[in-house]
Symmetry: C2
Subunit: 879 residues, 2 copies
């Protein structure tokens, strides 16, 4: 390109749908329609590239060299093509100036219509069209929009002026205003313009165009646009294109209209087009809601020819784009013009129905159909929700921590949840935050609400793991555990009061909202079947109970990728036994306490093995630091102090408990004595767990005549010798228990950076690796999940240090490299090494695509994410 | 080697000093001496390789194929060479069978002397040597040693038998026993042998030899040998060689002797040979201490010829080996034989003196001289110690946490230490463990003793950083902070009692031991000068105060590589101001509190800059989590409870404090809101620190006419945008303060695995990287330093999961790779990027060699380690 100026401007006829990055969604859509539908169906125009916007921004809001000239040239071509001149006194060309980024950002950026009018050309337009009202309506719209968009004339002042004119004229609707009323409005708007800018409204159409282009560029950096991008993960560096297009007029009387149309029903996906239109109106009237639009089906009667034309075009576009289309159109005196087309955003059920129908209609192949689905959104189909049209007041809004909706009576402690649930009552556990102690309460409750914490808080993680709906960080709730009250905006709720939450939206209400059950209909089943045909990655589930395991199998899990044995110790009746094990001060006492846990653990494993039949079950031996199972330091400290002051007889016991908490306390438990380190210090714990596994397997084999496939997983390995020792321990216990016939593999979680660097050595001792990407993220980034969510992580995302939470989508440059490194060197050392991943990323479509590429054998995620993972895994293969 | 059997046996004449790995230290030494001194100075023999030992171990204590034959062959050769036959009735060949690993493991493994004797050949020997006493003394020694070493006859039973015989004979010394007594002893030992083994003492010399070889192999895996290897980081996989050598006899009367000789004084390094010898004795008598040996100088009178021979040989060996030699010799009837030579282990002062003398004598080049020094041991020359010959009772022994000795009155709190020290009293801070709160007490105390924690505990780290002697984990001390008492083995110590500690040995005593000041004598200076000529790596110091900075310069630091600004906030008078800053609940309050800290911080920086003149000063902005500066949760909880019960008026304040502690509390502070994360959330903190830096620099420039070289370091960066933001902040403050003339570089600590993977991107924003290998070790390995030392780390070393603490010597496969990766990609992105390391590994010689190889520019360590680092850096270059 040396010596050649950058091309900033493309005529529509030069573009195509492949040029989306450069021309934006709208620009490439209009260009493609021009090619596919012909020039008479699409008003002519040109697009200023996103690169021009980026150059403008980078230069500190200075138009790049050559832009002015290229716009002038393109305008001259447009004038030649239309036979009209911008600002012409007799027959003026009018244009729209619209934004259009790579990804649609609906309503976030600016648009100016009817540009090119002035005090003289409006008269020419009136004469030429023999429609004075139309001309003045167009002019007042232009002055209004230009003032508001390009120079910041406040919207409310504009609305006030219109209201005043309507009141004076005694009419209700804009369309009822007379020509004189409209002329008066133009004067009103000009006066407002002068007030705000200290300048007269510009009559030079070239000046109008230049300012409008600038305004669109600037709107890329408006606060609302930035906020939208932050939420939707759209990079600030993309910029917006600007589309300059000949105006066509839906406001030329009763044979004209403007509307939006979908090629299929945008809510259900049913194969009938849907949409709205407004007679005698411009496009923004349809969107703004000033007048109530009509359903597109009524057009068939009112404008049969344009309607039939539109139906044909929707079909053409759909098969051309191979996706459901969302279009804008205008009918000007019975002639249909298409202004925009794009792939329709749609809820999950519509996406699924379209995909299945499209294959059946021969429109798409299965592969193409799968690619149209946003896997992450399928979540909505897998959980109960509030009924869509239900009427209720939102009491508080928090973080969408775990999807699904639930209702029940308020309880404030895990113990109360267990008791009430045992008595057959539905309860919602309401707490400021939750801790390991509370897990029994999660089992018992229908849903969880907390006033603190975010998506990665303990409450959110445990709730998602168990498939319990949860709203976290609902900070409007003041929860007083002492008095068992929730105060919120003047209302006080007590234990036993009913409450409802929707973990998909983050809403909490006291109204009795009807819940809708999830519908895994035949379309969804069909999609999943196709996904299974295509995907290479296996999909397993993280499940700790037989119920979870059954749900996982229903959703199509091909095994359990992670059974967290510590969750088995958290049930209310087991905690005291677990505590006794931990408090044991001799190996002998500990062995005795372990003996009490053994039959319980064995029973759990039997349930799991029966549920999973001959599918593999990966069991992780005890992982968390022991003090997680002990009472709270602060609580016991205070009890000790009280006992000291009041000289109560339990002082000695309490002091002993406090001492034990001290001796087990760790400054950074995440990096302390847990995982395999426990196994090495207290081999008797792991030995008991393996015993329970082998005994359960033998019992199930006898009962069902089929042996389970067992994978024993050692967590937190950093050194190959750790695994070597534990492998020996496992093998010894299996032999001692006469479990020689069983298929027992031994592997490890790879969840520390060091393990990734020495994966080749660790592989020598392992039958499989399962990447623990939660912990790997914590260590690679130095982020304690418990602390940074609700801590600095949200600030980091606001400040754009990060685009998204590394706990949701895998951090590719850091954590991703570690995974690749370990997968690569591990396989090099042992080609048959099985590789999986069982962190939360196993349920995230973008991360799944990464794991597919990294060559893993399977992902494992919470049961409710299994269908999503199946679809995402198929999409990963499709690339 | 296909088709050819492994060579397991080498005759001495086949070996050399280069074959140490295969032949062991002794085997290669004897072989080399054979070559250098001639065969008549070294008794003939052969060596069985370490590989044979390894093969024997791996086969489950089974001799490898071919070994038996090769030994027989070598023995036949030996018999031919000596003209004698093993076990011959008339003139038997006697041999010694000695262990000899790659590294000397003195006294750890087994040896059998006089092998080849039996009931018949002893008579032949008597006749042939015309010395019946000698023959029977040799035989009883053999039966005694063989029984003990090869078959486990208990040493005490042997001693009892000897005692009984001496008592019966009425003599005091072994040499006074008659031939009949010795015969009786042989009978005694044979009886003991039968008792233990149920077998008769073997008369077949081949059988004796085979058993002795086995015994030496087995002794490699004896508990004491394993323990020794663990402590000295000798791999279990090396194995030991076995040396079979013709016996020569120091016990043939008054013209015979055995002894050990050093080529120079082994304590001082003075250039006169030193050593001990015993007339009419075998080598083990000299070592065992049964008789008191004479000083080697007395040999000059007693055996002038042998003495002069020995002196010549010592010189020859020293110049041949180019190192001080530690030898064993025997004089048999006036003929000198050399039995072993090896480089002499020696204390630091001897090592330094030898190195300097050797260069002056032309024996070694500077480079060769430097290579003879064990850099780590130089530490002993840099701290006061207990006087070497002082007589004192050890009250308790703990971990050698921070080197040096100190004495003073016991205090139990940091506050008391500050008060007493201000009053001019020397104090030792005695606590169960220490916390951030206590740091002011470290400044004030002469030394620190704790009953908990290890080498990486808070107390140890802070003490080493400040150069305060410390003993940690002295678990015999029961410290009761409530009653201010220390109970230990029945003694009770109170506040104000005097105590002394030696952090180099880990000893604590109440005796008034004299302390010896360190001596950086001219020899040491000379060594350091040579090191500076040779090394490529720069050496800086970690220093937070002007005093530290001055000490660092005295020790030759070329700059400050790490100034931890948080230490400046820990002085007793500043903590309340710091606390006010943290407790501030609005940005305004925080700014005010910061305003109070600013002048103090500025003064600190002025001191540092003045001390360092024009050397670079790297200042790390605030790093630790804020709650480290807050009161203890447990203490405040209990105060709240007390205030509640007693309804005291301070309840509200206390509750507020507790709430604030809660809100700042983090589950894993190491991975929480600290480092750059604080800087992004509270930019006003970093802004204040930069202000203080710039103002200090300007003041010092004005005062001294020379501007300091400032490097501002941002800790805990994981994302390039973090550094980008902080760089902008620093640049803005510098500009606002008119600091434009100053040389201010901005860089970052690389201390998170992610940072290493994106080092190329981070380098774009950085003038320098300084590797924070402490935190990098914590995150890469998932080891919380505070928790794992004293926790599972010692267990891991016992169990051989780890050979040494990764906090002492860098973990090369994990952390080392991260460092290399970041150094490599960082430099690739920015070739002029300055690279340093400021973790504790910066003072560890083995780690320094690694950093030199990884291409870093400098290491930074505690002031007291600077001389060691200078020597180690030179050695790294020498390879």
């Amino acid at each position: 390109m040396a010596g050649q100026a950058t091309k900033w401007v493309y005529e529509f006829s030069e573009g195509s749908k492949e040029m989306r990055d450069l021309l934006g969604g709208k620009g490439s859509g209009v260009a493609e329609m021009t090619r596919v539908l012909g020039e008479d169906k699409v008003p002519a125009g040109f697009t200023i590239t996103t690169d021009a916007c980026v150059a403008y921004m980078e230069a500190g809001r200075e138009e790049p060299e050559g832009l002015e000239e290229q716009v002038a040239e393109a305008l001259a071509d447009l004038e030649k093509k239309t036979g009209k001149k911008l600002g012409d006194d007799d027959d003026p060309l009018l244009v729209s100036v619209r934004s259009g980024a790579r990804e649609s950002m609906p309503g976030m950026m600016d648009t100016v219509l009817n540009l090119g009018l002035g005090d003289r050309s409006v008269e020419g337009l009136a004469k030429k069209t023999e429609n004075e009202r139309f001309a003045w309506d167009s002019y007042r719209r232009f002055v209004q929009m230009f003032g508001n968009v390009c120079r910041g004339v406040p919207g409310e002042k504009i609305e006030d002026a219109i209201k005043r004119r309507k009141r004076d004229a005694g009419v209700k609707d804009d369309t009822e205003l007379s020509v004189d009323d409209l002329k008066g409005l133009v004067d009103d708007f000009k006066a407002l313009y002068r007030d705000v800018t200290d300048e007269d409204f510009p009559q030079d159409p070239q000046e109008q165009l230049a300012q409008a282009i600038r305004a669109v560029f600037d709107s890329w950096d408006s606060p609302r646009a930035k906020e939208y991008r932050r939420i939707n993960h759209i990079p600030d560096q993309w910029g917006t294109a600007v589309n300059v297009q000949q105006m066509v007029f839906g406001n030329k009387g009763d044979t004209s209209c403007s509307g939006v149309a979908f090629s299929r029903d945008e809510i259900t996906g049913a194969p009938e087009p849907s949409g709205d239109y407004l007679v005698n109106a411009q496009g923004e009237d349809v969107v703004s809601g000033v007048r109530t639009p009509r359903d597109i089906s009524e057009m068939k009667e009112q404008m049969p020819e344009a309607y039939s034309d539109l139906m044909d075009i929707l079909k053409t576009l759909e098969s051309h784009y191979k996706d459901m289309q969302d279009t804008e159109f205008t009918v000007e005196e019975e002639h249909l013009y298409m202004l925009q087309t794009r792939n329709a955003k749609r809820p999950a059920q519509a996406a699924v129905r379209f995909a299945v129908d499209a294959v059946n209609e021969g429109l798409l192949t299965k592969e193409e159909a799968l690619a149209t689905i946003h896997a992450d959104k399928l979540d909505a189909l897998l959980h109960p929700t509030f009924e869509a049209n239900a009427d209720y007041d939102v009491l508080a809004k928090g973080v969408s921590a775990s999807p699904g909706a639930a209702k029940g009576e308020i309880v404030f402690t895990a113990d109360d949840a267990v008791t009430a649930s045992a008595a057959g009552r539905d309860v919602v556990l309401v707490r400021p935050f939750t801790e390991a102690d509370d897990v029994a309460g999660f089992f018992a409750a229908k849903g969880i609400v907390t006033s603190e914490g975010g998506k990665a808080s303990h409450a959110a993680l445990v709730a998602r793991g168990m498939g319990r709906p949860a709203v976290t960080g609902a900070s409007a709730l003041e929860i007083d555990l002492g008095s068992k009250e929730v105060r919120v905006n003047g209302t006080v709720l007590h234990e036993g009061d009913r409450i409802a939450l929707d973990g998909t939206t983050g809403e909490v209400t006291v109204d009795d909202v009807p819940l809708v059950d999830p519908e895994v209909d035949e379309n969804f089943e069909q999609i999943l079947e196709w996904a299974d045909e295509i995907r290479r990655l296996g999909v397993r589930a993280n499940a700790d109970t037989p119920e979870d395991a059954c749900r996982a199998r229903e959703f199509g899990a091909e095994g359990i990728g992670l059974c967290r044995t510590e969750h088995m110790f958290m049930a209310a009746d087991r905690q005291p036994k677990m505590r006794a094990m931990i408090m044991a001060e001799s190996e002998e006492d500990r062995r005795e306490a372990l003996g009490n846990l053994l039959p319980l653990q064995q029973k759990d494993f039997e349930g799991l093995f029966e549920a999973m039949e001959d599918l593999p079950v990966t069991i992780r031996l005890l992982d968390p630091p022991l003090h997680e199972f002990l009472p709270d330091l602060e609580e016991i400290s205070q009890q000790v102090e009280r006992a000291r002051i009041e000289r109560t007889p339990d002082l000695e016991d309490l002091e002993h408990t406090l001492e034990r908490i001290h001796s087990l306390h760790e400054t950074n438990p995440m990096l302390g004595t847990r995982g395999v380190r426990l196994g090495i210090i207290h081999p008797e714990i792991y030995a008991m767990q393996v015993q329970a596994i082998v005994r359960a397997a033998k019992a199930v084999t006898e009962r069902c005549g089929r042996a389970p496939l067992i994978e024993i997983m050692i967590p937190l390995v950093a050194y190959e010798r750790e695994l070597q020792k534990m492998r020996k321990l496992v093998e010894k216990v299996v032999a001692d228990e006469n479990g020689g016939e069983l298929e027992v593999q031994v592997g490890t979680m790879i969840e520390l950076p060091r393990a990734c660097f020495v994966a080749d050595r660790i592989a020598q001792e392992a039958d499989f690796f399962s990447f623990g990407t939660n912990d790997l993220t914590q260590t690679a980034l130095g982020f304690s999940r418990d602390d940074v969510e609700g801590g600095f992580l949200s600030r980091y995302m606001e400040d754009k240090v990060l685009d998204r939470s590394p706990f949701e989508t895998i951090d590719k440059p850091g954590v991703g490299w570690l995974v690749r490194l370990a997968a690569w060197t591990g396989r090099e050392a042992k080609p048959e090494l099985k590789l999986g991943i069982c962190g939360e990323h196993g349920g995230d479509p973008e991360s799944i695509a990464f794991f597919d590429m990294a060559g893993l054998d399977y992902v494992s995620c919470s049961p409710y994410r299994v269908p999503i993972a199946r679809v995402a895994a198929a999409q990963a293969q499709l690339g």
